[in-house]
């Protein structure tokens, strides 16, 4: 048994919160710069250039890339040979969020209950923690702050197995079309196919963590990703929805076995500020 103290987890989370909100992953930067070259709409090109300028300013001046520093979403792979010592694991993560969002001058965007009071919790907690137990004696923490604007444009549908790939394509394209300018295009489209309702949604979100340009290991699914990206970019929405060919930078699909009766599909939309960062303890 390897022991990891909660203070170590809190310190790691604090650092992740500050760093992820200030610096885009390299693959996203590359994709944005390539999009500037490829976009055919003059206004679209200008907007993409400003988006590139924005992440550079954020890095230089130590500012958040986007003011919506999101719901603090964590994917934690906890090694089964790890013993957490010194306190409550969930509280350790929440304390890291509290400290990171204060230290980084990040926006606190969470209200205490969704319907009745909607009072800001003041420290961006609680975090959303997806915990998975894995072999080994390490903890891998991935932090992906999720903005409200793009999350609001996401959707889920329980398709019939007979709907097949065509049904999935139709649903994904319709979801992106309806989202239009709202989720701050260019977007990344995370698609979860299979499992139960909640698994489809979860793997759609996990799909957003996959580097741009990397495809699903199954060639048929990889082809579906490419086809969907091409179709989505024919919608004409373009950068910020002002028209153009760069509506999405990538379509990433994750799959999971399904029930004989079901074909669940979830579409999780991510804005161009596709922030995530990970650490291993």
């Amino acid at each position: 048994m390897r022991e990891i103290h909660v203070d170590e987890i809190t310190a790691a989370v604090e650092k992740l919160c500050v760093e992820a909100n200030g610096k885009l992953p390299e693959d996203v930067k590359v994709a944005l710069n390539e999009a500037v070259e490829k976009e055919i709409s003059p206004l679209g090109r200008e907007i993409l250039s400003d988006i590139v300028k924005n992440y550079r300013i954020a890095e230089e001046k130590d500012l958040a890339i986007c003011q919506d520093t999101g719901f603090a979403v964590f994917f934690v792979e906890l090694g089964q040979d790890v013993r957490i010592t010194g306190g409550d694991f969930n509280e350790a993560i929440n304390e890291g969020v509290r400290r990171g969002y204060k230290k980084g001058y990040l926006r606190k965007s969470i209200v205490d209950d969704p319907l009745i009071h909607r009072k800001n919790t003041g420290d961006n907690t609680p975090a959303i923690i997806h915990l998975e137990m894995v072999p080994g004696d390490k903890i891998r923490i991935t932090f992906a702050p999720k903005g409200g604007g793009s999350e609001n444009m996401s959707a889920l549908r329980m398709l019939k197995p007979s709907d097949g790939a065509e049904g999935i394509k139709k649903f994904v394209i319709e979801t992106v079309r309806q989202a239009g300018p709202n989720p701050c295009p260019p977007i990344i489209v995370g698609v979860g196919i299979g499992g139960t309702m909640e698994v489809a949604a979860l793997i759609a979100k996990k799909a957003l963590l996959r580097p741009i340009g990397q495809h699903h290991p199954m060639p048929e699914i990889a082809k579906l990703e490419e086809e969907l990206l091409e179709q989505v970019n024919k919608l004409g929405i373009g950068p910020q929805g002002f028209g153009g060919r760069t509506t999405a930078l990538a379509v990433n699909i994750e799959t999971f076995p399904a029930h004989i009766a079901s074909l669940p599909v979830a579409v999780n939309i991510q804005c161009h500020a596709a922030r995530h960062r990970e650490i291993e303890l």
Binding site: I51, I57, I65, D68, T69, R107, C184, F242, H272
Partner: protein, 183 residues
């Protein structure tokens, strides 16, 4: 061509703007998003005096990051405007002339923009660091208890935006997408 405009917005300035025009806004603008809109809406309904003067003004749909020491404000890009649609026609009726945000507006809002002669500007969503550079001063003037949803008074210089919906109801989202749509 980029048009410089100042606040409060004059009738001439609004009349000169067309969907697709790029503008640089200077002067005072106010922030307000979901919670502040609901409160302002309720105050107008009750006939109370508002904490901000709406006549000729621009509201920026934003919930900024806190300011680091030495800066006027943290990252401050636009939020999705559609969530304010329910409240917007009454604000326009009460004298509001401009809005800065991102995303589509309802038919009711477009109709009110035309009826009251207003304009809807788009700023680049997700470019909060870039946009914050144009905000030179900030001060909370109402609803401080709402945290990032409080109403700020911003002094802006050359704040970059694009006319999305002009006073005649022309909509850049529709015009732009139609030009590049292939399916």
């Amino acid at each position: 061509m980029i048009k410089p405009i100042t606040t409060p917005l004059t009738r001439e300035a609004i009349n000169s703007l067309r969907a697709g025009d790029k503008v640089l806004i200077s002067g005072v603008i106010y922030s307000a998003r979901d919670a502040a809109h609901r409160l302002l809406f309720e105050m107008i309904k009750r006939g109370e005096e508002l904490p901000i003067e709406l006549e000729g003004q621009i509201i920026y749909y934003v919930g900024p990051c806190p300011a680091k020491p030495g800066r006027a404000i943290g990252s401050a890009g636009p939020t999705t405007s559609g969530r304010m649609d329910l409240y917007t026609p009454l604000l326009l009726e009460s004298g509001l002339k401009g809005m800065i945000g991102k995303g589509e507006r309802s038919k009711e809002v477009v109709d009110a923009i035309v009826k009251y002669g207003a304009v809807y500007f788009g700023a680049i969503g997700g470019a909060g660091a870039l946009l914050a550079d144009s905000i030179k001063e900030s001060k909370i003037v109402a609803f401080e208890e709402l945290g990032p949803e409080a109403v700020y008074r911003f002094k802006v210089e050359n704040f970059p935006a694009i006319v999305v919906i002009d006073k005649d109801g022309n909509d850049l989202y529709k015009i732009g997408v139609e030009k590049y749509r292939e399916i």
